[in-house]
């Protein structure tokens, strides 16, 4: 059974759009799963959950875009898109690839 987790902080404006993107991909992949949505409230929780930044999407506890970092905290995160651009949002393609890998 697929587990999908969405972690975010309020201060980063992209989280609503990222969650909508995740929901769209799940719908298109015909995957019915309840997303575990976690709002990261403080530094301690960020360290505890090894939170790289907002928004973070985990599929079966694996980050859709694994980062080689040990810097955790309350920050926005950058995604490198397929065309090389940097964005505060993961692409639909990135989300889709991660879901297909784990399905």
């Amino acid at each position: 059974m697929l587990r999908v987790t969405f972690q975010y902080i309020d201060d980063c404006p992209s989280h609503e759009q990222a969650l909508a993107r995740l929901r769209k991909v799940l719908r298109e992949e015909r995957i019915q799963v309840e997303i575990d949505i976690i709002k990261i409230e403080n530094e301690q929780q960020a360290q505890q959950l090894r939170f790289v930044g907002s928004p973070t999407i985990l599929v079966n506890d694996t980050d859709i875009d694994p980062q080689s970092t040990e810097h955790y905290g309350l920050a926005c995160r950058a995604y490198q898109l397929e065309d090389g651009r940097i964005s505060p949002l993961p692409s639909e393609e990135m989300i889709k690839r991660a879901i297909r890998r784990e399905s």
């Binding site: 980063c12 905290g73 920050a75 995160r77 940097i86 505060p88």
Partner: protein, 180 residues
């Protein structure tokens, strides 16, 4: 000089500052007193800045000959966000070929005085030093090809033509400034 909280509103006069730039030289707003100046609170680590910074370079390139000067200021706490250190600012500016000054607001007084909250956040002043536009660079941080409203470009065109800025204020979109 910046000495108290002002929290600028449209029409207010620019607050002067003296900040170290990545060229290791002190920069003050006075240097650009004959220019239209866009002060942009910015940083290294924020993905919104990183999504917009090529557009900042393009805007400076397109408007330099018209007497426009962008000035980027990083006020973030680099002890908690080491990507935002002064040394890393120099690296970023070199990598992205910044064609505008990139200044360090170490004690965060300038950001505080301007009332900046986010990165990137634009304060555009006319050549008389009065605030004409405050807010976001455009309406799409994610996709430059999908921008519908070029807020800063439109404001620059209006200021240079001596006409009313069509949208004088927008909510800046980006990471919060990392206060000490």
């Amino acid at each position: 000089m910046v000495s108290e909280v002002a929290n600028l509103k449209i029409g207010d006069k620019a607050l002067d500052f003296s900040l170290i730039g990545i060229d290791d030289r002190q920069h003050s707003l006075d240097e650009y007193s004959n220019n239209v100046v866009a002060v942009i609170f910015s940083c290294n680590h924020c993905p919104y800045v990183r999504a917009w910074e090529d557009r900042m370079v393009k805007i400076q390139g397109d408007y330099a000959s018209k007497g426009v000067q962008l000035v980027a200021i990083n006020a973030n706490d680099a002890s908690k966000y080491p990507d935002d250190s002064f040394q890393n600012m120099k690296v970023r500016a070199r990598e992205k070929k910044f064609n505008f000054p990139y200044l360090r607001d170490e004690d965060q007084k300038v950001a505080n005085a301007y009332g900046a909250q986010r990165t990137p956040e634009v304060f555009l002043f006319n050549s008389g030093g009065a605030l004409q536009y405050h807010g976001a660079i455009d309406d799409n941080y994610d996709d430059p090809q999908a921008v519908k409203v070029h807020y800063l470009r439109n404001a620059l065109d209006a200021v240079l033509n001596g006409t009313k800025v069509p949208v004088a204020e927008t909510a800046p979109v980006g990471c919060t400034i990392k206060w000490k």
